[in-house]
C-alpha cells in the first residue's frame, strides 16, 4: 500500500493515476456505446441485451461499483492536482496570452466537470428514471428501446445529450493523447499520429453517441 501513497504524493504519480483511470473509463465508454448501437439492429435485439444485463445482478452491481470507484479516483486525483496548480500561482498576470495552447487542452477540467454532471443526469434519466416516472413500466419490461425513443423525443433532452457529447469529444481528444504523453509513450516520431488518432477515436465515440438522439429526433427510429 505504501507504494500507492507514494504515487499519490508525487505529481507525476498522480498524473499516472488520472491517465490510467481515464483509460479504463474510455474502455467502458466504448463497451457502453457498442451496446447502445444495437438499437440499429431493432427493438428485440436491444431489449434482449438489456434483459441479459438486468438478469445478472452480480455482474451489473460489480461493474457499477468498479466504475464508481474508478470515476471517484479519476475525479478526486484531478481535484488534488487542480488545487495544487491553483496554489502554484497565487498572483496572476495582468496580461496573459497563450494563443498556442489548444482549447481542448485548456478546457479539460471544465469539460470534465460538465461530463460528470451529465453522467449524474444520464443515470437519473435512464437508470433510476427519477425524472420520468412514466419510464418505470418500460424499464420493468426491459423495453430499453421504448425508453430511448421516449427519452430522446424531447428536443431539450436530446440537445443536452448532444452538447454533453461535444464536451466529451473535447475531453477525450486531449485525454487520449495525454495518456500517451503521461506514460512516456510519445516522441517526435509518434506525436502527430497520436494527435490524429485521438481526434479519430474521440470523433467516432462522438458520432456513435449523438447518432442515437439524432435518429430519434429525425423520426428514423420510432
Amino acid at each position: 500500500m505504501n507504494i500507492l501513497f507514494a504515487l499519490y504524493k508525487s505529481s507525476v504519480g498522480k498524473k499516472y493515476i488520472v491517465a490510467a483511470t481515464g483509460f479504463l473509463l474510455f474502455i467502458f465508454l466504448i463497451g457502453h456505446l457498442l451496446g447502445n448501437l444495437q438499437i440499429y439492429m431493432g427493438a428485440e435485439k436491444l431489449n434482449a441485451y438489456a434483459h441479459f444485463l438486468q438478469t445478472k445482478p452480480l455482474l451489473i452491481w460489480a461493474s457499477r461499483a468498479g466504475l464508481l470507484l474508478i470515476a471517484l479516483v479519476h475525479v478526486t486525483t484531478t481535484i488534488k492536482l487542480a488545487l495544487e496548480n491553483k496554489a502554484a500561482r497565487p498572483v496572476g498576470y495582468e496580461v496573459s496570452k497563450a494563443p498556442y495552447a489548444p482549447l481542448t487542452a485548456r478546457s479539460i477540467l471544465v469539460s470534465g466537470i460538465i461530463i460528470g454532471l451529465f453522467v449524474v443526469y444520464h443515470i437519473l434519466h435512464f437508470t433510476s428514471v427519477t425524472f420520468n416516472p412514466e419510464f418505470s413500466d418500460l424499464r420493468a419490461a426491459h423495453n430499453v428501446y421504448g425508453m430511448v425513443v421516449a427519452g430522446f423525443s424531447n428536443t431539450y433532452v436530446s440537445a443536452f445529450y448532444i452538447i454533453s457529447m461535444v464536451l466529451l469529444f473535447m475531453h477525450l481528444r486531449h485525454g487520449i493523447s495525454s495518456f500517451f504523453q503521461t506514460f512516456g509513450m510519445n516522441n517526435k516520431t509518434y506525436r502527430t499520429t497520436i494527435e490524429r488518432l485521438a481526434v479519430v477515436a474521440a470523433g467516432l465515440v462522438f458520432l456513435g453517441n449523438i447518432s442515437i438522439p439524432l435518429v430519434v429526433l429525425l423520426g428514423f427510429i420510432k
Binding site: 496580461v95 496570452k97 512516456g184 516522441n187
Partner: protein, 261 residues
C-alpha cells in the same frame, strides 16, 4: 519610437506591488528590450526616482537571467529568443507594453522584475549532476556515445534554466525545465548509473518546491527560448515509470524520511 510602459513595481518580497506607467521617448528600434529599460532607468535616475530593477547578465541570449513577461508572453512575442535578444523593431510606435515579472509561487519577487529562482537550483542539487572524480579529465571518445543520442542530449542540455516554461504554464509547472535536466544526463552513459535516483529525486524536489502539475498543453515548448521539446517531458515520464517499477519511488521516499529525521 515613443512607447508607454506599464511596469510592475514592488519594493521587496513582502511589499504590495503595483503597476506604474512610464513614457519613453525617442527609442531607437535597433536596441534590445533590456537596453530600452536601461534608457528608461537613466531617465528615472536623472529625475531622482528609483530605477526599475531587472535581471540581466550575458545579454546575448544564453544565460537565462532575464525574467520578464512582455505583453503576456515570457520573453515577449518573438519566438526562440530571450528578452535581451528581443529588439524594439518588433514593436509598433506608440504601443503600450505591459511588463511583468515571471509569476509562480516558487519564484518570489525580490524587487520589481527580479525574481528568486533558487527553487530551480535546488531541483538541480537533487540530481542534476553525475557523481564522478574531478581529477584528470577523461579522453572524450573513451566512452562511445551514438550520434543521435549525443544530439538529443545536447538538445536537452540547451535549456538555460530561465524559467519561461514555468512562467507561461497556466499551472506554473516546471516539467519542461526538470525534464530537460533529467533527460540530458539520463541519455548519456555517464548519467545512466544514477538514472532512477535522479528522476525520482528531481521530481520529488520539484513537487516540494511548490511548482504546479503538467496538463500536457505545450505552452512551455512554444515559450522556451531554446525550443526544448515536449518529447523530453514524455521521456522523463517514461524514466519515472521505469524507476517506480524497479521500486525506486519507495526507496527514495524512505531515504528522504530518514534524512529529515
Amino acid at each position: 519610437m515613443n512607447l508607454t510602459l506599464k511596469i510592475w513595481r514592488q519594493q521587496n518580497s513582502k511589499a504590495q506591488g503595483e503597476f506604474v506607467e512610464y513614457k519613453v521617448t525617442d527609442v531607437s528600434e535597433d536596441i534590445s528590450f533590456l537596453e530600452m529599460l536601461d534608457v528608461l532607468n537613466e531617465d528615472l535616475i536623472e529625475r531622482g526616482e528609483d530605477p526599475v530593477a531587472f535581471d540581466s547578465d550575458c545579454r546575448e541570449g544564453i544565460c537565462g537571467a532575464c525574467s520578464i513577461v512582455v505583453n503576456g508572453i515570457p520573453h515577449g512575442h518573438q519566438s526562440g529568443t530571450t528578452v535581451c535578444q528581443l529588439h524594439m523593431r518588433h514593436f509598433d510606435d506608440s504601443q503600450k507594453i505591459v511588463v511583468e515579472p515571471f509569476r509562480a509561487k516558487p519564484f518570489p519577487i525580490i524587487k520589481d522584475l527580479v525574481i528568486d529562482r533558487s527553487a530551480m537550483d535546488r531541483v538541480i542539487q537533487a540530481g542534476g549532476f553525475i557523481s564522478v572524480g574531478t581529477n584528470q579529465f577523461a579522453e572524450a571518445n573513451a566512452i562511445p556515445v551514438p550520434k543521435d543520442v549525443a544530439e538529443s542530449a545536447m538538445d536537452a542540455a540547451s535549456c538555460i534554466g530561465c524559467g519561461a516554461c514555468v512562467a507561461v504554464c497556466k499551472n506554473a509547472s516546471a516539467m519542461l525545465f526538470v525534464a530537460a535536466k533529467v533527460s540530458h544526463l539520463n541519455l548519456l552513459p555517464q548519467g545512466k548509473p544514477e538514472k532512477d535516483r535522479r528522476v525520482t529525486n528531481m521530481i520529488r524536489t520539484m513537487d516540494a518546491e511548490g511548482f504546479g502539475n503538467c496538463t500536457n498543453i505545450g505552452a512551455c515548448e512554444t515559450a522556451c527560448p531554446k525550443g526544448v521539446s515536449l518529447d523530453f517531458i514524455a521521456q522523463m515520464n517514461r524514466d519515472y515509470a521505469k524507476a517506480i517499477i524497479k521500486g525506486q519511488l519507495l526507496n527514495a521516499s524512505q531515504t528522504a524520511a530518514q534524512e529529515t529525521k
